[in-house]
């Protein structure tokens, strides 16, 4: 779920960077010092989760988990995702400096949305949590793809049509896997460790 370097034009890149600066600021403000180690650990976790591949047909997709990140961390999800992306850019060369802001918007905004919409209330049944998590996983990826195509459209207009179609098609299996995994994780966590999901602020 990265937009490569050199694809977008400067107004879109600048816009993405500005949105990221503001949302990171808000996220950091709402992250108290006690939860700093947790936030760092979560950034590491989302980095590591992206190394987990699930086979689909002939290929495989890796987990993104931005929806789960939003549910678990609330506003703090944004800086955590930004750090995760920065680490991916540094260690793997996925994305880069200029597209960091836009890529953070692509994954972070849907995460925040999921945190608002799908954070489980106390005493939620595992079956309901499965549905909730599934929706969150699907919405997080769909939202990301939507933002990605929007960024491409704003940069290149109709000329980027084939690219946008490519992005949409490539992310269909991702959305399905993500919905299933997020649903299972949420319902299992509700049974296993409900306190983990109440940590959001």
């Amino acid at each position: 779920m990265h937009i490569a370097e050199g694809v977008l034009n400067w107004p879109v890149l600048a816009g993405g960077a500005a949105i990221t600066a503001v949302l990171t600021g808000v996220g950091l403000k709402r992250l108290d010092d006690d939860r700093l180690p947790l936030a760092g650990m979560m950034a590491a976790l989302f980095f590591v989760a992206s190394l987990i591949h699930v086979p689909v047909g002939v290929g495989s997709v890796h987990l993104v988990l931005n929806g789960l990140c939003g549910i678990m961390l609330g506003w703090a999800a944004y800086p955590v995702i930004l750090v995760s992306l920065l680490l991916q850019a540094l260690l793997f060369g996925f994305g880069g400096l200029t597209s960091l802001g836009v890529n953070a918007v692509v994954m972070g905004l849907p995460a925040l949305l999921c945190g608002l919409l799908f954070a489980p209330p106390a005493g939620l049944q595992p079956r309901a949590a499965l549905m909730r998590g599934g929706l969150a996983g699907a919405v997080a990826i769909a939202g990301g793809v939507l933002l990605m195509t929007l960024a491409l459209y704003l940069s290149g207009g109709r000329a980027f049509m084939p690219l946008m179609t490519g992005v949409l098609v490539a992310h269909l299996p991702v959305a399905v896997i993500e919905a299933l995994v997020t649903g299972i994780v949420l319902s299992t966590l509700i049974r296993m460790r409900p306190a983990l999901l109440a940590a959001q602020a």
Partner: protein, 242 residues
């Protein structure tokens, strides 16, 4: 996971290297001429090959995406036809846009590789602190950096254990469910670990602040480096405009 420090770049102050990468990136985004971009690409390739960072694999991953763009853009951008393939015509404007995308993408990635990647990540964290990136963000970054390896070991251990019990990943619901369970354990482990770290750090007097251990001093060589970069960019820009 740390890349070897190249000799050439190591002599420069990390802050200056981050600033140089920013400067160069801005120049690329501003849209110089294609020939100027090509020259910049060659110069960067020279720098990177001298610095010994394995850049080719990184470039490969990005250029797979670029391939799609380069193959479709000439046909999807309307303009004066340059070539005809059956009923498909490739436009001059589309070709130019495709080449620009290819060149600037690679220049930006090489900029990152040449100037920033070779900085040891912890040093980079300190350099960013000195460049006034918010402290809390850097703390999250440093914590993440420290625990990526730890969590990855946990992940590998879990998946090894699953393999020993006969788990073979397939494209089915069982695989998805098992992956979900493994992930839950990973999350629980990470959160517990974070809690223990937080307690242990409080015992050692943590008040939410890391002392900044690394300080840098920019010297003549850094000033010379930045000046050289500005000079090269200036010349390329003049050449672009003419």
């Amino acid at each position: 996971m740390n890349l070897p420090q190249p000799d050439l770049m190591r002599r420069f102050d990390p802050r200056c290297r981050v600033a140089a990468a920013g400067l160069l990136s801005l120049w690329v985004i501003a849209g110089p001429s294609l020939s100027a971009l090509a020259v910049a690409l060659l110069m960067l390739l020279g720098t990177v090959s001298y610095s010994g960072v394995h850049a080719l694999r990184r470039l490969g991953a990005m250029n797979v995406f670029m391939l799609l763009a380069v193959c479709t853009l000439p046909f999807s951008v309307s303009g004066a036809p340059a070539a005809q393939f059956g009923s498909w015509s490739a436009s001059h404007e589309g070709l130019e846009q495709a080449v620009r995308m290819l060149l600037s993408g690679n220049v930006l990635l090489l900029t990152m590789t040449a100037f920033v990647t070779a900085i040891e990540p912890i040093t980079l964290g300190h350099a960013l602190l000195h460049l006034r990136v918010p402290k809390r963000l850097i703390r999250v970054f440093l914590f993440a950096l420290r625990y990526i390896d730890v969590l990855d070991q946990v992940r590998l251990r879990r998946f090894r254990a699953m393999k020993l019990r006969g788990f073979v990943p397939r494209a089915d619901l069982h695989t998805v469910r098992t992956t979900g369970y493994a992930l839950c354990l990973l999350i629980a482990d990470a959160v517990d670990r974070a809690h223990r770290i937080s307690l242990a750090m409080k015992c050692r007097g943590w008040r939410g602040e890391f002392p900044v251990l690394l300080h840098f001093s920019a010297g003549r060589i850094d000033a010379a480096g930045i000046l050289l970069l500005l000079l090269v960019l200036g010349l390329l820009q003049v050449w672009s405009a003419s």
